[in-house]
Symmetry: C2
Subunit: 431 residues, 2 copies
């Protein structure tokens, strides 16, 4: 089943602004609430959201074997579960429907009114029900920076790091879409000069610039996914902000890893960009030395050239771009991550999400967290309004963007943008 949707020469009858993340070659998938208070699965071209549930009801997908309600759902899990062949058929068909040469929907005003929405008429939702969320730690630069700051600069990487795509389980229930504000967490910390821990709001709230991939049902319990098949089970990718409280993390994380320092919130961009749409942007990954064990050996280009950047905006203030990084810097690629995750037979389901870990480049202006950018707060960042930041202040908004670009097409992810609020008001409303 060839992917015809990413033909770079195709144009749409929906006008696409210059430098839009969403040309007709993208065709991402998301879930939104419409102006009529209906939840539906949709896609986007330019600044127009398209109701796939309505399109399907109107018969536009009749040639594709789909259940009647596949798009009339509040998550993409069932559609993702249908598998790669179906994803391609649907993307190819959407490309046809909106091709500038196809006048069927274009000339049907009644249908267009039902199917098309401007962005202010919809409210984006979390695109999947996330069964399990895993976070990897796959940027060598990030792991080296953290190891240098907290352990030993001469042995910054732990002995397993070059052999294993190190990962751990995170919390699914606290993952929210772009736009949802996040409360500064409270918790237990051990101040540098104290002998007893103290309780209060975290003083070191940070972002982590990550991307995450979303899987389909991949295996039986007990059954590993071979690395050469791994990409068949990856539906697509989103931007991922793994909010972190560094002071809570430092005190709690031995020996079982980060817990409350991370599970107060993570946020994602709402449009899942398919691996098919990213196909033109494959690139070689970093050389891996030592050579990984055979189950982690891969052939071909398994990395993707995705430009990433983070803006920090004070309350009512202008944004400052504080870092520019790239997904291609990741030492371990997604195929290696998924093959490793399942080598022991761990079950992977539709809608599971796997984060890359913080994506830092090799230069200080490409680091993926405040911890690294300000080097533990030693080098504060200058904001465009004249203030400084060591970590994130109440009222600040963190916005991450990502896009791929070549001479023919730009495929982007939109943004994940969330504001940090003061700690939750403890006046509890009982259920």
């Amino acid at each position: 089943m060839p992917d015809t949707a990413n033909n770079p020469n195709r144009k749409s009858w929906i006008s696409v602004p210059t430098d839009s993340d969403f040309p007709i070659q993208n065709i991402p998938f998301g879930v939104f609430l419409t102006r009529d208070d209906v939840i539906t699965i949709g896609t986007r071209i330019g600044d127009i959201a398209i109701d796939l549930g309505a399109l399907h009801q109107l018969g536009y997908f009749n040639e594709i074997p789909l259940t009647d309600d596949i798009f009339l759902q509040d998550t993409l899990n069932d559609f993702i579960s249908d598998g790669k062949k179906t994803w391609r058929l649907v993307r190819n068909r959407i490309a046809e429907i909106f091709d500038v040469k196809n006048e069927t929907l274009k000339n049907n005003e009644e249908h267009r009114k039902i199917v098309l929405f401007t962005l202010d008429e919809i409210e984006m939702q979390l695109p999947v029900q996330i069964g399990d969320y895993t976070d990897f730690y796959s940027s060598k630069e990030h792991a080296t920076n953290v190891g240098t700051m907290f352990r030993d600069p001469d042995n910054a990487l732990l002995p397993n790091w070059l052999h294993i795509p190190v990962g751990y389980h995170g919390r699914s229930s606290s993952i929210v879409p772009s736009g949802i504000p996040i409360h500064r967490p409270k918790g237990q910390t051990m101040p540098a000069d104290a002998s007893e821990p103290v309780f209060g709001p975290s003083k070191l709230v940070d972002f982590e610039l990550e991307m995450a991939f979303i899987t389909t049902d991949a295996n039986l319990l007990g059954e590993p996914i071979p690395i050469e098949e791994a990409e068949d089970y990856i539906f697509g990718m989103v931007l991922f902000n793994d909010w972190s409280a560094r002071d809570i993390q430092k005190w709690e994380y031995v020996p079982l890893g980060p817990f409350l320092a991370k599970n107060f919130a993570s946020s994602v961009s709402p449009w899942i960009v398919t691996l098919d749409a990213l196909e033109p942007f494959r690139t070689d990954g970093p050389k891996q030395d030592p050579k990984p064990l055979p189950y982690l050996n891969y052939k071909g280009k398994k990395s993707f050239d995705i430009n990433l950047e983070v803006d920090l905006s004070p309350e009512n203030g202008a944004p400052t771009t504080i870092t520019k990084s790239n997904f291609k810097y990741m030492y371990w690629n997604m195929s290696q991550q998924l093959a490793h995750h399942t080598i022991n037979g761990c079950k992977v389901n539709s809608g599971d999400m796997m984060g890359s870990g913080t994506i830092s480049g090799s230069t200080p202006d490409s680091y993926g967290s405040m911890l690294e950018l300000t080097w533990k707060g030693e080098k504060p960042i200058k904001m465009s309004d004249g203030t400084e930041r060591k970590f994130i202040n109440d009222g600040d908004t963190v916005t991450m963007r990502g896009y791929c670009k070549n001479d023919k097409v730009r495929i982007g992810f939109g943004e994940v943008s969330n504001k940090l609020l003061p700690p939750f008001n403890p006046k509890k409303v009982k259920k």
Copy 2:
């Protein structure tokens, strides 16, 4: 809403064998497949399973505000979401229906045929769809044993342990009910005298004797659950075997905690015993010194006296009881665990599962894992068939049981019993 279901003097018209875990005072909740291939929510008295979906359709719960299909589901999540008041109304009503003095159902042969099943007519399922699974590390004896073996006997507990109910996120997708066999995981390990990691089946597969509690929807994202309210959000408990691969764990776990060493499988007993049924077995917990921070301070008896034991059975061989422990040994109780888990605003949903961590007592015959019982394999266990075990062999079955008992009533959990199979045959069947 008083709980009348655990009146210790009540008898049922269903006969209950001596020393059954399931007298009419228990009334646990589970999900099963019936002889007619229908999935339903049910309970159990003695050796009779009761179809609550059918009972509800026949009108036996008419006085309780329940949706029509609340029991005709394949998970308990929606029922648990209805909250503590509803759980009590339903348990109290079940106690009435099956009270020896109540002849309505007892004398209605037609209804009895629809509602009652012998155990060989049903197949127990996972009782909840587990959104997120957390594992704590709350036995001081277990943490001390592990710290002694792997770090420093003089500083076995890490500095945070007495201040924090240390926990981490585990994998929901690999949790299976009693009866499902588990494959020995493969993975990467670093042998003691090697300079490079090797790949192969784990040589050190272990069980961990745990219990887990199941929550209802408890809070908004950002909102902590005060410790004095924590038990209102705990539906009930199950036995929990947190299967572990010690050699994989040792190599992978720094700095982010256990991952593939644990997520190949965990197994649970299928009947959830409610906190209400455990009420007569409250007991004081261990003295906590130093005194925890105020958000972890509790009043009253928050521990439960639950006898636990583990049998190990070779393929076609007789079982050997290899340890006897008790849930009351836990240093941190469930209220403290849930208050800690949410102090940063982490969202807790209906069906979430939280494991206690390995429950070890103070004596070597009460340790909760092979790692501790055989002290890293240095002191093999003698089996009743004359063989020895350092860890778990292919073909072995691990069976955990748990029960509370006083002079009037015994409330038990049944068992979680799973066989260890050789590694998965790699002949992959593509979806």
